[in-house]
């Protein structure tokens, strides 16, 4: 009955620069059903991009390195695969959309050639066939096929992101990693691009991990949500659970810092302080220096995730529900 498509367990990523070690991802676990959309939400520097790149094994190495964990795609551990096997998986089964469309395209290659490149890597196509397919993809993302021969600098940011989407979806991947696909775009373009991604992945039945720091975007798009802080998942559950009943003080802080139409107070409450230094993470809960509910217990040891209700876990000792070793084992194995 296991319908799990992607399962990430205890993923750890570090960056080494000189003597310093940046602990970017510290034991992240989640799982994804086929066709599901999971959102990774967190501030800049929380480690979201590192998680996505680790799944595809395209961390810049050096300095980035996966130092622990398992990434299973349909039961196969990607971290144990050879580079040659990964070449088959990248682009074909997992594709990625990057944060900044202004820099994600090679400035010296026509957009058409860049789409064709991926197509021909994974399909046995002549250039003419691949070109035809690429032109279809361009049309699908709302770009006239005649612009196949143009260079990225001839496109606006929104158009470039459409090209990147066309490129990512050209080989019809099973899993799409969308790393803040709309952050760099104008608000009006954001909605268009999101809707485009949504409709295309519905059409192709693609699963998606959407990285965002925008809870509004997440609310529109996702089935489940993982709140990432300092390389850990602080709260994880279905969208309904996390939005209706946010348990972690950090998640609550995120919601409080959102402007809301129907709230009485017109003052926003941003979370005080900043992310901890990833080269020197505090003991205990990484959020405790900023947490309004922090107690002495929060500052020591490792805080284990707690199951607050079925399908909803929270890494906080104040989350309410009883914590058991049994639970955290199940949580770690990705079944929630």
């Amino acid at each position: 009955m296991d319908n799990t498509f992607l399962s990430v367990k205890d993923l750890e990523v570090i960056y080494t620069s000189g003597k310093k070690i940046v602990r970017a991802v510290n034991g992240v676990s989640f799982s994804l059903q086929r066709g599901e959309t999971l959102a990774l939400v967190g501030e800049t520097g929380a480690g979201k991009t590192s998680i996505a790149k680790a799944i595809m094994r395209i961390l810049p190495n050096p300095p980035g390195k996966i130092v622990g964990g398992v990434v299973e795609l349909e039961g196969e551990n990607l971290l144990e695969k050879s580079e040659a096997e990964m070449l088959e998986i990248r682009g074909e089964r997992i594709a990625m959309i990057f944060q900044d469309p202004m820099t994600a395209l090679n400035p010296l290659m026509t957009v058409g050639d860049q789409i064709v490149e991926g197509l021909r890597l994974h399909n046995d196509l002549t250039f003419a066939e691949a070109k035809k397919r690429a032109e279809e993809m361009l049309e699908q993302v709302g770009i006239p096929a005649v612009r196949f021969v143009e260079y990225p600098f001839e496109f606006s940011g929104g158009m470039r992101q459409r090209v990147v989407i066309a490129m990512a979806l050209a080989c019809n991947p099973d899993l799409l990693l969308a790393d803040e696909p709309t952050t760099a775009l104008d608000v009006t373009i954001q909605a268009q691009v999101l809707n485009l991604i949504k409709s295309l992945r519905q059409k192709y039945g693609t699963s998606m991990i959407l990285i965002s720091h925008d809870l509004g975007v997440v609310a529109q798009t996702c089935d489940s949500v993982a709140i990432v802080y300092a390389g850990q998942i602080m709260e994880y559950g279905t969208k309904r659970h996390v939005f209706k009943n946010p348990c972690h003080p950090y998640t609550r802080g995120l919601f409080n810092s959102l402007p809301s139409m129907n709230s009485d107070s017109d003052r926003l409450k941003p979370i005080e302080g900043t992310l901890p230094d990833p080269t020197n993470l505090p003991d205990g809960c990484p959020f405790h220096p900023r947490c309004p509910r922090a107690t002495q217990e929060c500052k020591i040891g490792v805080i284990e995730p707690v199951k607050v209700e079925p399908g909803h876990i929270c890494r906080c000792i104040h989350a309410g529900a009883e914590k058991s070793v049994e639970d955290s084992k199940r949580i770690h194995s990705g079944e929630v």
């Binding site: 790149k53 595809m56 395209i58 810049p60 050096p62 990964m86 070449l87 088959e88 998986i89 990248r90 682009g91 074909e92 594709a95 990625m96 990057f98 944060q99 900044d100 820099t103 994600a104 395209l105 090679n106 400035p107 010296l108 290659m109 860049q114 490149e117 991926g118 890597l121 994974h122 143009e150 260079y151 600098f153 001839e154 990147v164 490129m167």
Partner: protein, 317 residues
């Protein structure tokens, strides 16, 4: 594109005129008496005065300047050497091929080995191969050309007897001068290429290419190198002016009768027509190479190309 080429050619002409003006003015205001220098200390004042009269250096500045521009740019006549009495043009024509040969060959070596070493070091980022290549490059950048030239003569001519130490003759006479003229530039190019590659290495589009499942070797060849080498093109010109500047030294050390040595001896002998002509030659030579480089850049970079191509622009709208 035509508009771009035209613009650049116009700039070239202006630069040449400016150079002519500056060199003429500097020589005019140089203290001392050319006739005295030519005739020597034993000449009588009357002889010196007569000589100055004959050379026409007593006339007003503007008259002389006008004459110089008229002769040079309209009649294409560089005048006669004050020292030898022969037309400067003949002397230059005989010497010019040697200087051009050394300059252009050095530039080609510069580029070829500079890129090769830079790519090697850059793609081995911060491994020992990288450090070693860059250390050697640093040594060559810091060594003065003439010292390297002398050391090479000692080694390859005196100790090993492989190459003639100086003078001109067959192709073997040019080997050491060309290598010496290019060493510093190779090192500079290698360092620039390396840092450019390391910069491009972090670019998002490289990650994009990897995320498509492209092999690393193809990512390097198709995505990294073209982008990394683009800025290198613009440095070819500066590298070349470095070679030109060094040519007088190289030609002197290897006793090659080129334009560089001609210019030096002309300066020493106060042979103004010869000085002006050789300086102008170097200016034109450098400008032409820079022009070619700029055109190359515009041709390979789609961004610049499109800027000057109306057809494309219209289509984009």
């Amino acid at each position: 594109m035509a508009e771009y080429i035209l613009k650049r050619c116009l700039a070239l002409i202006i630069i040449v005129f400016a150079t002519a003006f500056i060199i003429f003015t500097i020589l005019y205001f140089t203290p001392g008496d050319p006739a005295r220098a030519l005739l020597g200390a034993s000449a009588s004042d009357a002889e010196v005065a007569a000589m100055n009269e004959a050379l026409g250096v007593n006339r007003p500045y503007l008259v002389q300047l006008g004459d110089f521009f008229y002769d040079t740019f309209i009649r294409f006549d560089f005048g006669e050497s004050w020292v030898y009495g022969r037309p400067v043009y003949e002397e230059l024509a005989a010497r010019l091929p040697r200087t051009v040969l050394i300059g252009l060959s050095a530039m080609v070596l510069n580029l070829f080995f500079g890129l090769l070493l830079g790519i090697f070091a850059g793609t081995h980022g911060s491994k020992w191969q990288d450090s070693l290549t860059m250390a050697i490059a640093m040594v060559f950048i810091s060594c003065p050309d003439f010292w390297v030239a002398l050391m090479m003569i000692v080694l390859f001519s005196l100790k090993l007897g492989w190459l003639p130490p100086y003078g001109i003759g067959g192709p073997e006479y040019y080997i050491m001068p060309i290598i010496c003229a290019s060493l510093g530039g190779i090192a500079v190019n290698a360092r620039q290429t390396r840092s450019s590659i390391l910069e491009v290495y972090r670019e998002d589009y490289i990650t994009t290419a990897r995320s498509k499942g492209q092999r690393e070797s193809v990512v390097v060849r198709r995505h990294m190198l073209p982008n990394a080498l683009m800025p290198i093109i613009t440095t070819i010109g500066t590298g070349f002016s470095r070679i030109v500047a060094g040519s007088a030294v190289i030609e002197t050390v290897f006793s090659i009768p080129g334009v560089g040595t001609y210019m030096l001896s002309a300066i020493n002998g106060r042979d103004y027509p010869a000085v002006r002509a050789s300086v102008l030659f170097f200016a034109v030579f450098t400008c032409i190479v820079m022009l070619v480089v700029d055109l190359m850049y515009a041709f390979v970079d789609p961004r610049i190309k499109a800027q000057y191509s109306r057809v494309r622009r219209a289509k984009v709208q």
